[in-house]
């Protein structure tokens, strides 16, 4: 029977159910976790013997750049990223190529062999939604969704300036269903619009050109709308001033804006059974803290400011953040923050792509290499790990590399191992520039994460944060049958033996998706269908009509017709709308 399987005798780590390494069996029927299988079902079920191994829910990546125009620009401008990293076609799988920006097939296989089953695209420019969905459609083995970039959108800025929150909310709701997007992304609010004029903003209270709206007003407005609509996830914030020495201060101040905002997550879904309350309790999800965590005034005197932001997050309960770790080596930086990429261009002289997305946003792409010999890069490595080790409560952190900005997602095994092994960190300190140690606190941290912590950072918390814990990130009854089995015996785990950890994290023993074994020891063995999630947000028809009158009026400034703007459902594989804000 397809999608029915028993995973026997493994050490199970399921933080949403507070299961910490208990030996137990996991039963999956028709793709969903069940309490048990009947004798008849057991007879036909596939069985995985996970004795002496670690069993976790399938990996969830809540912030990765995997689909859309800028990812593809990264592919197109980097033939050198592809000629050595290539994948041969098999009777089952497609060929592929690319190291930091792999082709869609390769990226699906690579995530899957590492044990990941769910990946959310971090930034969809509305105009590029079709393209993004086409790539998500073609990415195998991953359940996906993506966040709509709204922080510099003309309509949004206009409504917020006017203080017309009703229409602003109706616009967000309409945009989500029109572009089949999942949540709100806010990139360098007010700044990207200024970038159209070759400028940026440098403080939270600096009004931008023409719209005369400040970053603070945009963050506040979007947060309010987000909670008003009961969105699945908090506003996903890419703070201003990113990547500049001293930027930690504005990051911290940006987080304060959503302090005290009452969270409201109103989804009409069936929740998988969990012991911990799986609903969302954060009002802001900060992206890639490392890039937003520099202290100092110039690159000569810069140091880690992560501890200041971490202190704030430790003392408050409304923030969750992903790390944006930099594991050294090749990367391709790509973001909706055009001016930040321009700064990197002036710094490196590397080839550079910049796009202005009409009335919506912008983006930039640039190849980047993080060197162990470089003082700033070494510091960034330390800062990325500080993000995850200085914040005490793992339920406030998510492990990412902001792939491929800090490095490709295929380097996750390195990050996991650095988090678990102080010995591995010491080894890297000995190989990289002394700034890593001298200008961060990482050298003094002896915290080593457990497998349970790691399951929070890579499964439970990303799922909980983005509102997918109703079916992802746990092995509770009713959850999707997504499971990773690592060949790690927790009883014999030796964090000093980091080579073994690296090896085991790189290739999961088994990756199970929807109850079907999809990868075994680095090999793809089946290709079941995948899903794409989006938020179908409900508002009063009257509000929507009023708002659409404005949108149609302004639409003449777009280069395409209104009728061609929406992304039809046929662009999605198994489109799975999540009903939000339903009037009962």
């Amino acid at each position: 029977m397809a999608g029915t399987i028993t995973i026997k005798n493994g050490y199970v780590f399921d933080p949403l159910n507070e299961i910490n390494g208990e030996i137990m069996d996991v039963f999956i029927k028709d793709g969903k976790v069940v309490r048990e299988l009947s004798a008849a079902e057991l007879k036909n079920a596939k069985v995985i013997d996970a004795s002496g191994m670690t069993v976790m829910p399938g990996g969830v990546d809540s912030h990765s750049h995997v689909a859309g125009a800028k990812v593809n620009a990264g592919r197109a401008m980097r033939p050198e990223d592809h000629y050595k990293a290539n994948l041969q076609k098999t009777s089952l799988t497609h060929s592929g190529s690319g190291y930091t920006v792999p082709s869609v097939y390769k990226q699906g296989y690579d995530y899957s062999t590492m044990g990941y089953t769910t990946v959310f695209e971090a930034a969809i420019p509305p105009l590029e939604a079709r393209h993004t969905h086409e790539e998500m459609h073609a990415t195998p083995l991953l359940d996906m969704g993506g966040y709509l970039v709204l922080g510099n959108n003309f309509f949004m800025m206009h409504y917020l300036r006017e203080g017309d929150m009703e229409k602003a909310a109706a616009y967000v709701a309409w945009m989500m269903k029109t572009h089949k997007a999942y949540g709100i992304k806010c990139v360098n609010p007010a700044g990207v619009e200024n970038w159209s004029w070759g400028k940026n903003v440098s403080s939270l209270d600096e009004a931008n050109i023409h719209f005369e709206i400040t970053p603070r007003e945009i963050i506040k407005g979007l947060t309010e709308i987000n909670e008003h609509l009961g969105m699945p996830m908090p506003v996903h914030l890419h703070a201003n001033n990113l990547g500049h020495p001293g930027c930690y201060a504005i990051t911290k101040d940006s987080l304060k804006i959503s302090d005290g905002v009452k969270t409201r997550q109103d989804m009409d879904v069936e929740w998988a059974e969990t012991k911990i309350d799986p609903s969302r309790n954060r009002s802001v999800y900060l992206s890639h803290l490392m890039f937003n965590g520099f202290a100092g005034t110039t690159w000569a005197d810069c140091e880690s400011g992560v501890k200041y932001v971490a202190d704030y997050i430790n003392n408050k309960d409304h923030v969750v953040t992903d790390s944006g770790c930099t594991p050294f080596g090749e990367a391709t930086v790509m973001t909706g923050d055009g001016p930040a990429i321009h700064d990197l261009y002036t710094l490196t002289g590397n080839k550079w792509s910049n796009t202005d997305v009409e009335m919506e946003c912008g983006s930039g792409v640039l190849p980047f290499t993080y060197y162990k010999s470089n003082p700033v890069h070494s510091l960034q490595w330390a800062m990325g790990l500080e993000c995850l080790l200085l914040i005490n409560d793992p339920w406030k952190t998510i492990m990412t590399t902001d792939s491929p900005n800090g490095g490709p997602f295929t380097k996750y095994p390195e990050i996991m191992t650095w988090l678990m092994s102080e010995a591995f960190r010491k080894q890297t300190f000995s190989e990289c520039h002394k700034w890593a140690n001298d200008r961060s606190t990482l050298g003094g941290i002896n915290r080593e994460l457990s497998l349970y912590d790691l399951a929070i950072l890579t499964r439970a918390n990303p799922a909980k944060t983005i509102g997918m814990a109703h079916r992802k990130g746990s092995l509770g009854v009713g959850a999707d049958g997504d499971v990773t089995v690592y060949n790690i015996n927790p009883q014999q785990l030796d964090a000093n033996n980091y080579e073994t950890l690296l090896r085991t994290f790189r290739k999961a023993e088994y990756t199970v998706k929807g109850g079907e074994v999809v990868a075994v020891k680095g090999e793809i063995v089946s290709l079941p269908e995948k899903r794409t999630y989006y938020s179908e947000v409900h508002v009063e028809d009257e509000r929507e009509k009023e708002m659409l009158t404005d949108v149609k009026e302004w639409f003449r400034y777009y280069t395409l017709g209104f009728a061609n703007y929406p992304t039809p459902e046929k662009y999605l594989q198994n489109p799975t709308p999540i009903q939000v804000n339903v009037v009962r």
Partner: protein, 301 residues
């Protein structure tokens, strides 16, 4: 024969005294070598991806095992023996292995890719990417070499007795860093973008080059005895280029420094009357590239 290689036989009247003799480039290996001979069996249709033709992958194998090595042709793989008659056994290591291709290999790509030691002699022309990423040992091409010869090589010697195509010793498309070490000697002429992104090593061209020789060069020495068309040293940030003939159109981002009687780069020294320029300042103001041209051949500079 490289398709469309520009062979400009116009002799340059340079008064360059020091001429690097090809003999100085040949390796002085004293190791006893076992010889493997590859004789082409038939006309090759779609070009072969033959990165298995290296002393490293032949080492320790007999002729039959070598014949069974797989080469790609389009979407399929075939044994090497499908295209070549293989005779002789390889030595026990790469350094003890000599591969002789008796005939034309113009449609055989990637010969000697990544080789670390030993020798390959091609008694005809070589296809694209000959000696790509080679680390050591020696390749001699008696005919011409198609484009990308010695791409990103780090060591060893690539000796082309005929002409070479585009991108000799260059970085792969989109990459910044080309050849890092080793030497390339071309007795004929080469085409565009010779030494693009070159970080180190030496390239000597007895004949002429076309456009953008030494583009984005960061280090190493390029010495062209003949003429160059245009764009010499464009965007170069370091390293040395010496042009013994005339530069048809000089790059605008270079500044004249001085007259010099000799050029030194590593162990190589060239004697003559040179005009020395530095650049390319077209983009970076901190560029440290050195461009020498023989004074007599370029009176207008």
């Amino acid at each position: 024969m490289t398709e469309g290689v520009l062979i400009n036989k116009k002799e340059t009247e340079s008064k360059l005294e020091a001429v690097i003799k090809p003999e100085s480039f040949t390796s002085k290996s004293t190791v006893e070598m076992e010889e493997v001979t590859l004789v082409p069996k038939k006309e090759i249709d779609i070009k072969l991806e033959a990165d298995v033709i290296t002393p490293d992958s032949f080492a320790g194998k007999n002729s039959e095992e070598i014949g069974n090595l797989a080469v790609w042709q389009g979407p399929k793989t075939y044994p090497l023996s499908e295209f070549f008659e293989v005779t002789g056994n390889a030595g026990s290591s790469a350094a003890e292995t000599l591969i002789r291709i008796k005939g034309d290999a113009m449609r055989v790509k990637r010969i000697g890719e990544g080789m670390s030691a030993g020798k390959i002699e091609i008694e005809g022309s070589a296809g694209m990417h000959v000696g790509t990423e080679m680390k050591g040992g020696e390749i001699v091409v008696y005919g011409d070499a198609d484009s990308w010869a010695g791409m990103e090589m780090t060591g060893g010697l690539l000796h082309i007795k005929g002409n070479a195509g585009d991108h000799v010793g260059c970085a792969y498309r989109g990459k910044w860093h080309g050849m890092k070490g080793g030497r390339i000697l071309i007795e004929g002429s080469a085409r565009h973008q010779l030494g693009g992104g070159m970080d180190g090593g030496e390239i000597l061209v007895e004949g002429n080059v076309e456009s953008f020789c030494g583009i984005r060069q960061n280090g190493g020495l390029i010495f062209v005895k003949g003429n160059a068309l245009r764009g010499v040293g464009a965007e170069m940030a370091g390293g040395t280029i010496v042009i013994g003939g005339k530069i048809e159109r000089f790059s605008p981002g270079f500044e004249f420094v001085s007259m010099e009687n000799s050029v030194k780069s590593g162990e190589t020294e060239l004697i003559g009357e040179f005009k020395k320029f530095t650049g390319d300042y077209a983009i970076s103001k901190r560029a440290k590239g050195a461009l020498y041209v023989v004074a007599d051949a370029n009176p207008e500079l």
